[in-house]
Amino acid sequence: MDWSLIIKSLVTLGGLGLILGVILLIASIKLAVKVDEREARIRSVLPGANCGACGYPGCDGYAAAIAAGKAPLNSCSVGGPEVARKIGEIMGQEVTAAEPKVAVLICRGGKNEAPLRFQYKGAQNCRQAALLLGGPKACIYGCVGFGHCVTVCPVQAIRMGENRLPIIDERKCIGCGRCVTECPKGTLTLIPRRKLIYLACVSHDRGRAVKEVCSVGCIACGLCTRVCPVGALRMENNLPVMDFQKCIDCGICAHKCPTKSFIDRAPGRPKASINPRCTGCGECVKVCQFKAIEGEPGKQHRVIPEKCIGCGQCVLVCPVKAIDLVGALGHSVKTI
């Protein structure tokens, strides 16, 4: 037992351990960064998807911004109202819930509808394909279909359909908007979750130019802007732009559109039906754009179910409230 060696070794390693321990102890006290305690609590409430939808670099950035009072409390669309409420509690402020959003594809020109202009053998990535003359698809505005959005979605809510168009699973989508920013062609957009009707085309061409490249593209005929009962649509750069506040999701534009460029997210639509209180005044006949109501003046009128699209215009205009909407609708129609 060579005691001198043992003592030296104990002193050396023990001493070093002690010194380092003390240094780390002092450092952990003196150098402690005064992290705002609220920031840590906010960070724990945030979903942690680091998607950047709130406009801050990930959840840490957002939490820091909130604690510093620089960020609105409800811009975490992923977390939605429930997270916003919790942040409000932490910050001790009343919070109005942010409107949850969902991502949708605004292009219907898949493999079958929009043919390819040239054979593209390059990297199977939208961004790189888009660099080459706007992508292989005939319609240079449309979705290239290589699934870049599929790879960037933090919650894997998007998968590639066989028609070379991404299919978004609304239940999984958290509305973070990353796919919208990542898509080189801008064929994805965020709409409020409760919105039913949206336009599914981004082509800025008109008429025949669209027809040549895509069988389902919007030809900018402008019919929808004329038929819309509440004037929520107006033509801008050959595309109808929808004002989400005005739109009442009646579905008239979708049905009237010659190229069916609008998509209706409601699983089913109700049908109008006229009850005996009807005085036969004919107001509803005038307002119904689909001639789905018939009857002699002064007599009780009748709705033709096949023609009625459940837009609800007649219900609004009927002076004696004799019409009501019956049947399946994913979301209840706004009745006055």
């Binding site: 060579d2 060696l5 043992i6 070794s9 104990l10 023990g14 351990g17 380092l20 321990g21």
Partner: protein
Amino acid sequence: MKDSRTWMVLSLFITCLISAFALSQIYNLTLPQIEYQRNVAGLKAAFGTVMPEADRFEPATPDSSVWLAFKGETRIGSIIKTAKQGYGGPVPVTAGVDLQGRIVAIKVASAAEGLKETPGLGLKATEPEFRDQFRGKTAAEIRLTKDGGTIQAITGATITSRAVTDGVRETLEKYREMLILQQEPDSEQ
């Protein structure tokens, strides 16, 4: 107690102490074996060239001028070391000898190892042409051609050549019993 500050430093300190103690013990335990391995490696480096197959050496004489060479447990020969006075100073020579007393190979210390012979002359003793002449020869044949032997001296460096040759022969004859175990079947002694 587990996360109190003093315990944070103390636990690190205690772990270091235990580790230091364990390491010092291990070092003490393995030290002799490592020393042994180290000098075996050292010897192997020194004698490796003259006795390639051997992997273990044991000194046979107090002045360690003769070593016995083993391969595993079986003895395969011996090593002799001499250092006769040459032209500029002693010429250290190491020679490997098989059991029949024949030279396996000889190594003359290089200039780096302190050989003071004149470069281009005496120093040529370290080159293979001169050294390979000893291969397979017994003590009787190890003599300069001038002195009636078979070793061709280096031109102009007779003193160095004689120092190497006589050194090897004298050591071979001095330890004849220890070196030669098997009689040469047709040895003409």
